[in-house]
């Protein structure tokens, strides 16, 4: 995926088109990744994301790879999403939002889940919290259902969108149940983003009026070639893509790479913009917490630098990665 390989490939005449990611394809485009777990990522990722045109992102609350054993671990995690991680992101000129929620896996520890539920109101009204998420089903247990329902009520009360994680196993039925329950609790499908869709779930989710999100994630979720086909078939309305990049083998450039692949496959710029930027903003801005004027794009960074308190807080200097010298 390295750029120098890319240049070499283009210099060598070849019958086969190169599959290297040419960032030039999407030059000047802006992207919004509405699902990415930056806590698990490095500063190199932040820089690459900014370079590829990602101007803002949403970090949903999730499972950290192993279960937490005390409520304070949750508290510190939520605090970091609105504090430290938000700052880290700002250093790269990327506006950081988050969704707050109790994830489905850890909902199964009921004693702990009760304490977490009591704490959620401390965080869900915070500035930059654009929804309740990611919540929903994993194993589809009774405990998962209980805390999913309770959190739907919280979202309703706070007027916040809901970001739903749909299960890996028994996905189709899990997705249907998630939507049924949201409707049962009186949520408008327009306030619900159903995530991790695939070819099997997309039609019903769209037909029922929910926002339909796709996670471009190698091996276990969607590939972006499949995503191109879905966009060709279903159009761009209410569809969005994200990377869900986390501690697993995943790709924080999934959104710009998908945009590039769409462009190479003849999908219109207008549709690409909807799927990789605009739809996510429209959906989550219903929280009242997203202001595009807050996005600091790489393009106008120099003009906005002066007097911008976030950048004043410590814009990260660039280092020359290809040099053997570290000064």
């Amino acid at each position: 995926m390295c750029c120098s390989h890319n240049i070499e490939d283009r210099n060598v005449p070849s019958e086969q088109p190169s599959d290297a990611f040419d960032i030039g394809t999407i030059k000047g485009m802006k992207f919004f990744d509405p699902h990415v777990h930056m806590t698990s990522r490095t500063t190199d990722d932040y820089q690459a994301m900014a370079d590829a045109g990602i101007v803002a992102l949403i970090e949903p609350s999730f499972w950290l790879g192993q279960p937490r054993t005390g409520v304070d671990s949750f508290k510190d995690y939520y605090s970091s999403l609105v504090g430290w991680e938000r700052f880290r992101s700002s250093q790269f000129g990327i506006k950081h939002y988050c969704t707050i929620g109790l994830n489905s896996r850890e909902a199964n520890n009921e004693a702990l889940a009760e304490q977490v539920m009591e704490m959620l109101p401390l965080f869900m009204y915070k500035d930059g919290v654009v929804g309740i998420g990611e919540i929903g089903f994993d194993d589809q247990t009774a405990a998962e259902e209980k805390y999913y329902r309770l959190q739907l009520e919280l979202a309703k009360e706070a007027g916040l969108p809901v970001q739903i994680h749909t299960p890996h196993r028994d996905k189709k039925r899990g997705t249907q149940r998630s939507m049924d329950i949201a409707i049962e609790h009186g949520l408008n499908p327009n306030m619900v983003i159903v995530d991790h869709n695939n070819e099997e779930t997309v039609k019903e989710v769209l037909d029922r009026g929910f926002w339909t999100a796709f996670t471009i994630y190698p091996f276990t979720k969607m590939g972006n070639q499949r995503m191109v086909e879905i966009t060709k078939q279903y159009g761009a309305e209410r569809i969005m893509v994200n990377s869900a990049a986390d501690w697993g083998i995943s790709d924080p450039l999934a959104v710009p790479k998908t945009a590039a692949l769409m462009k190479l496959n003849g999908i219109s710029d207008a549709d690409i913009e909807l799927v990789t930027y605009r739809n996510a903003i429209t959906a989550f801005a219903q929280s009242g917490q997203i202001n595009e004027a807050d996005f600091i794009t790489a393009i106008d960074q120099s003009t906005k630098f002066e007097g911008n308190s976030i950048l004043r807080g410590g814009q990260q200097p660039r280092i020359n990665k290809s040099s053997i010298i570290i000064s």
Binding site: K75, Y78, S79, V82, G83, W84, R86, F87, P121, L122, F123, Y125, K126, D127, G128, G288, S309, I310, R312, G313, G314
Partner: protein, 241 residues
């Protein structure tokens, strides 16, 4: 500090900078002074007051400076000022309960809330209660949080012990802050700090990095002119501290 006078000045500034609806809401929150409600009120403040930079007259500025030297609300946003005001107006007579309420706010604060909380330190009652919290804030790596403690904030100079004060100054140099914005530099200058700063300058020199000129300002009281000039040129041999 004349607290009553300070509150009057701040409430006048606030009234001129937020809508009538927001003012009515804020007053009601203070009248309620509910220990759970303050978390929400503090959090949703920008939704009620907006985030525009406040306007303040020069006479208000002068007045504020005479009541609380070293403190300013210049270039604050409306939500920040109202958050600070909510903290100082909050009605809780019990010291321990007040402390707990603020500690909760600190422990779950998002970035801008942290800035407001640390900016409020010089106005809060029971100044002795916030010393550890202030030292904790200095350990932060969030630039804006550090600036809230370091810039135009008389609390550190008035309340931190020497070790914590020195740590803050050193951190300010490390994080490339504008040292001249720190209140109480002259009053709190001390020999131990000068020694640490000289060590730091030496280290910078050895690494081929520049030294912030303000460093010498804090050192000069404790060394001879000759020593100072030598050190500026990279010669630390005669340093006696």
């Amino acid at each position: 500090m004349n607290t009553a006078e300070l509150k009057t000045i701040l409430s006048d500034i606030i009234k001129e900078n937020i809508t009538d609806d927001a003012w009515v809401w804020l007053k009601a929150e203070i009248d309620k002074s509910n220990s759970f409600g303050i978390n929400t009120a503090f959090g949703i403040m920008p939704r009620k007051t907006g985030k525009t930079v406040i306007k303040i007259s020069s006479s208000q500025q002068e007045l504020l400076n005479s009541v609380r030297p070293g403190f300013t609300v210049d270039s604050w946003t409306a939500d920040k000022l109202c958050r600070v005001w909510l903290l100082i107006e909050y009605k809780e007579a019990d010291k321990d309960k007040y402390f707990k309420i603020l500690e909760t706010l600190f422990s779950v604060a998002e970035m801008n809330e942290q800035v407001a909380l640390y900016s409020a330190l010089p106005l809060l009652p029971y100044p002795e209660l916030w010393v550890k919290r202030c030292a904790e804030g200095i350990r932060s790596n969030i630039g804006t949080v550090l600036e809230a403690i370091m810039y135009n904030n008389p609390y550190p100079a008035e309340n931190l012990n020497e070790a914590a004060w020195n740590q803050m100054i050193l951190k300010a140099f490390f994080t490339e802050k504008q040292i001249e914005k720190i209140y109480g530099l002259d009053d709190r200058a001390n020999e131990e700090l000068a020694r640490i700063l000289i060590d730091y300058a030496k280290e910078r020199y050895a690494a081929g990095r520049e030294v912030n000129a303000m460093l010498w300002y804090l050192v000069k009281k404790f060394v001879s002119e000759e020593q100072l000039n030598n050190m500026k040129l990279g010669d630390y041999r005669f340093n006696k501290i």
